[in-house]
């Protein structure tokens, strides 16, 4: 059944992404982007990363994309303005995209992941984790562990049954929060500067 679910989400994600590329209307692009990103959130749930999935939904789909649509509305020259791209450019881009795709597929398909895991285990000995991933048996969510890690407390179970503490992400977390504050100020400042066309309130900035 999970194959089916994965297939639905993966197809929706890839199809949405392709539709974004192929659409000419910006608003439709946004719509397909919503489909794609929501499906990615679904993939995250499938990967037992429920907190990341929820974050994806709340911030990406509910925040960022809404912001983008808002931007579309504020900058639309007409309801259906299409900025046509030179077909030659499209062809070149598609060619380059194909090459990059081939490169990516070649890159990850050539890797023996399990062997890599074994090698890492051999190399780092007891430092390797008890399980290759997290939560493999689907025993619950990772929200507490992520919360702990973000507040600087991260524990890992080792193969020999011991638990070790590792440095958490408190510093990056703080940096990101300061970064967000700076972005808040900067974005409001940028968006306020000499508005020529009447728009709505600059509420878009602070909601990031």
């Amino acid at each position: 059944m999970s194959v089916l679910v994965f297939a639905i989400f993966a197809l929706a994600a890839c199809g949405g992404a392709l539709a974004v590329v192929l659409s000419q209307n910006v608003v439709r692009m946004a719509f397909w982007l919503i489909i794609s990103l929501s499906s990615v959130a679904g993939l995250f749930f499938l990967l037992n990363a429920d907190f990341v999935g929820a974050t994806q939904l709340l911030i990406y789909v509910g925040g960022t994309v809404v912001l983008l649509i808002f931007g579309v509305m504020l900058t639309a020259q007409g309801p259906y303005v299409n900025l046509k791209t030179n077909p030659a450019e499209v062809v070149i881009s598609l060619a380059i995209g194909g090459v990059v795709f081939a490169m990516l597929v070649a890159a990850f398909s050539g890797v023996n992941w399990s062997a890599n895991s074994e090698r890492l285990t051999a190399e780092f000995g007891t430092a390797t984790l008890q399980t290759p991933g997290y939560n493999q048996q689907g025993e619950g969510s990772t929200v507490r562990r992520i919360g702990g890690a973000l507040s600087g407390l991260r524990t890992e179970s080792l193969r020999d049954g011991r638990a070790i503490e590792r440095p958490g992400y408190l510093l990056p977390f703080e940096i990101v929060s300061v970064h967000l504050l700076v972005v808040l100020v900067g974005a409001s400042y940028l968006a306020r500067a000499k508005r020529r066309s009447g728009g709505s309130e600059p509420g878009a900035g602070p909601t990031v």
Partner: protein, 818 residues
């Protein structure tokens, strides 16, 4: 004296004399600013100046009385002790010099019995400290300017009997001169003063606003400087005021600055003084290097352990403690008592004897300049260009007196060799001055040469060991010389600025007061008096003392016989030219009717000082060496002078003791009186009776006459010795400058120019080319790369993607796969 009494007295004297010293400065400031902003026709400045200096005199007199009151006990004790020792006929010797037998007057100096009988016995001074002048000296500090390590630069005071006496004398004479000047300078009280001696083109005379206030301002400043010099507690301070005195004399001699002769004379005086000051500075350096202090002495009870110069160089018995012989000879420094002075690392502090000589000669060189002694005497007659009150002040109480005063003050530092130098310089100066004065016809110049001559006397006296005689003469001379200068000023004023004696004559009737006061001065300078009489002209006593010292010295050191004969001869010449001047001016009949018609007696402000000074010139030395003036001076006499010196120093010179001088006193007095009488008589014959014609004699001895008129050709000598060589050297230097140095510079500039041209060529052809090529290549590269930099976001994205692919391909192509 208990420390409390010492402190109280010291403070009192400090404030009295300090105020007396600073009052003229305050006067100067008020006058120079007030006068500049105020009117030109008021005598306010003069009254301020007179008020200041008169107040100073009152304060000085109070200080004199205070000093006498405070030290009366000590002086009494000293006198008593002296009497006892005289009675005991002790025998004294000590230190480096053993006293031989020497004679002394049996009579007691202090008690003034005019008994010149004599008893020659040896006696022992049981306690030299009783006669130490430092016991009646008050020293201290006004204000500390700076401190460099152990060297302290401060405004000190050094008050002993001589200081207070000098203060009184200077302020008294200055007061008289100030009062006199209020009358003499009255013609400056105008907005348009016409200077008849400055000729402009077109035959007109120079006009300028009157400078009455400026005259008095500088007069006040002059007094301030001189008083500061006298009060100074250290030799560096002396040097400062020494220079200030020089500057003031420069201002005052050059008072009529528009006159070429006046400005030249001012320059000359100043430059001559600089020559002497150079030696002074050398002396100061030696003193500072070896003694580490400038202070004369530290007598304050709080200052025990930090001795001054006098305390270092001699012990309390007045002996220099020496070691070694010849050039190795050194003087051991004392710590103020009779114990040696040690430096911080425990070594005995010494000064090489020859360096002490150098220091003494250096300081004396300064005195030579200031007091117009033999090699540097030529500035003084030229200084007559200043107004007459200035001349009076300069020649009597202040400037020239400073040199003599310093020699007297610095006396403990002088070795016998230095004293010999001083004596010879003084003798030569006295003779030169006197001889020139014979032929001079300008009334003021006669007095100027007379001053030179008399200063030579004083130096001679100091040099032959007659310390008291020298300074005694300084005081008496100050009175009668200022008197005579003011009299001459009165004459000049009365004769409308006619100074040539050949145009005068018979003025006795027109200006009697001037004439007779002048006559008193002439008698005083000639040294008339009757030995044994208590009331004689002051010059008699002082000159008598000088001749006695010289005679004693010569009798002790026969090879220096000239030091006796020259002053005796000079005494005769002095009487001659002084009477010559008086006869030519006041006696006989008028030679120039124009002058005679306008001649009149001066007004009261000018005459009153004459009378006062005449009185003092006559009576100031009342009772001579037993009188108050001499005792006042004696109280400051350095310890070692009293007992003389036998075969001291390197040259084995002996100095007379008081007893020995007294022994010769009567002889010397008669010799001097005889010489003066002879001189006067010849003068009378020449210029009053006219039995002898001066012109004829002059023509017969024209070589000598011209030589004297040319002032011994000193100016020409200096011209040849210094000025011309300097000109020649200057010309050489100029040629060297023009030919060699300028040539070098031109060559260098030429070479630089050529190098620059070459450099420019290299720059333009090579460097610029390289730079241009770089620029062109860069520019071309930029042009060609411009196409890639399209500013198109989407293109960049493609480039990035391509770059990633290329990197991937590269990595996988060239990295070995593990």
């Amino acid at each position: 004296m208990t420390p409390n009494v010492y402190t109280a007295t010291s403070t009192t004297l400090k404030w009295l004399l300090g105020t007396a010293w600073l009052l003229p400065l305050a006067g100067f400031v008020i006058e120079i600013f007030g006068g500049y902003w105020g009117g030109r026709k008021t005598k306010t400045a003069a009254w301020i100046a007179v008020g200041c200096i008169a107040t100073s005199f009152v304060l000085s007199l109070s200080a004199l009385l205070v000093w006498r009151g405070a030290t009366a006990e000590i002086r009494e004790k000293q006198a008593t002790a002296l009497a006892e020792h005289d009675a005991a006929h002790g025998h004294g010797h000590g230190g480096e010099h053993g006293h031989g037998e020497h004679a002394h007057a049996a009579s007691d100096h202090a008690h003034g019995a005019a008994d010149h009988s004599h008893a020659h016995t040896n006696h022992v001074h049981t306690d030299h400290a009783d006669f130490n002048p430092l016991r009646t000296t008050f020293t201290g500090e006004f204000y500390r300017l700076a401190r460099f390590g152990s060297v302290v630069v401060s405004m000190d005071y050094y008050i002993d009997g001589l200081t207070v006496l000098m203060f009184t004398m200077v302020t008294l004479i200055a007061t008289c001169i100030h009062v006199f000047a209020t009358g003499y300078m009255a013609e400056e009280l105008t907005e348009h003063y016409e200077d008849h001696q400055v000729h402009l083109s077109g035959g007109r005379h120079f006009h300028r606003p009157g400078r009455f206030y400026r005259f008095f301002a500088f007069l006040s400043l002059f007094c301030f400087a001189m008083l500061g010099l006298v009060l100074a507690g250290n030799v560096f301070q002396v040097f400062i005021f020494w220079e200030l005195v020089g500057v003031c004399s420069f201002f005052l001699i050059g008072f009529y600055v528009e006159r070429k002769s006046a400005s030249t004379a001012a320059n000359k005086a100043f430059i001559m003084n600089r020559v002497g000051d150079f030696g002074f500075l050398i002396g100061l350096m030696v003193v500072l290097t070896y003694f580490g202090t400038f202070q004369f002495a530290n007598t304050s009870p709080d200052e025990i352990g930090s001795p001054g110069l006098f305390q270092m160089v001699r012990d309390t018995h007045g002996h220099m403690v020496t070691e070694g012989d010849g050039r190795e000879k050194v003087v051991l420094l004392q710590s103020g008592g009779n114990t040696p002075l040690h430096s911080q690392d425990g070594k005995q502090r010494v000064i090489p004897y020859w360096l002490l000589i150098v220091a003494g000669l250096g300081v004396f060189a300064g005195c030579v300049g200031k007091s117009a002694q033999f090699p540097l005497q030529t500035w003084l007659p030229d200084a007559m260009e200043g107004p007459t009150p200035v001349s009076a002040l300069v020649h009597s109480a202040t400037m020239v007196a400073a040199g003599v005063y310093l020699v007297g003050r610095f006396y403990p530092m002088f070795t016998p060799e230095v004293l010999l130098t001083i004596a010879y310089v003084g003798a030569i100066t006295a003779f030169i001055g006197a001889t020139i004065a014979i032929v001079v016809t300008d009334i003021k110049r006669v007095l100027a040469y007379s001053t030179i001559s008399q200063l030579g006397y004083m130096m001679l006296a100091l040099g032959v060991g007659g310390w008291m005689a020298g300074l005694f003469h300084l005081i008496t001379h100050a009175f009668f010389k200022s008197l005579m200068f003011l009299c001459s000023g009165s004459v000049i004023y009365g004769c409308h600025h006619e100074q040539d004696m050949t145009k005068m004559g018979g003025l006795r009737k027109k200006m009697p007061i001037t004439a007779y006061t002048m006559l008193i001065g002439v008698f005083a300078i000639a040294g008339y008096g009757l030995p044994g009489l208590p009331i004689n002209f002051s010059g008699f006593y002082s000159k008598d003392a000088i001749i006695a010292s010289a005679l004693t010295y010569v009798s002790l050191n026969p090879q220096h016989f000239l030091l006796f004969y020259i002053p005796v001869v000079t005494a005769g010449i002095t009487a001659f030219y002084m009477f010559r001047m008086w006869f030519m001016t006041f006696a006989g009949t008028p030679r120039d009717h124009h002058v005679d018609e306008h001649a009149h007696e001066s007004p009261l402000p000018m005459v009153a000082p004459l009378c006062l000074l005449a009185f003092l010139a006559w009576f100031c030395a009342f009772r001579g060496e037993d009188g108050g003036l001499a005792h006042q001076i004696l109280s400051s006499e350095p310890t070692h002078v009293r007992d003389g010196l036998e075969h001291g120093g390197i040259l084995g010179l002996s100095l007379p003791s008081h007893h020995q001088i007294h022994e010769k006193h009567a002889t010397a007095g008669w010799v001097a009186l005889f010489a003066a009488g002879l001189g006067s008589l010849i003068s009378y014959l020449f210029y009053c009776r006219r039995t002898l014609d001066a012109g004829t004699i002059g023509r017969q001895f024209w070589v000598i006459r011209d030589f004297l008129i040319e002032k011994w050709r000193f100016d020409e000598l200096y011209d040849v010795m210094f000025t011309r060589p300097v000109h020649v050297i200057g010309a050489w230097c100029q040629g060297f400058d023009k030919r060699v140095l300028d040539g070098l510079i031109h060559l260098a500039s030429h070479l630089t120019l050529q190098t620059a041209k070459f450099d420019r060529a290299v720059d333009e052809r090579l460097v610029d080319r390289i730079v241009n090529i770089c620029g062109e290549v860069t520019y071309a590269t930029g042009r060609s790369l411009k196409g890639i930099q399209t500013g198109r976001l989407r293109q960049y994205v493609m480039f990035i993607a391509l770059g990633v692919v290329s990197l991937f391909v590269l990595v996988f192509a060239f990295l070995p796969r593990s």
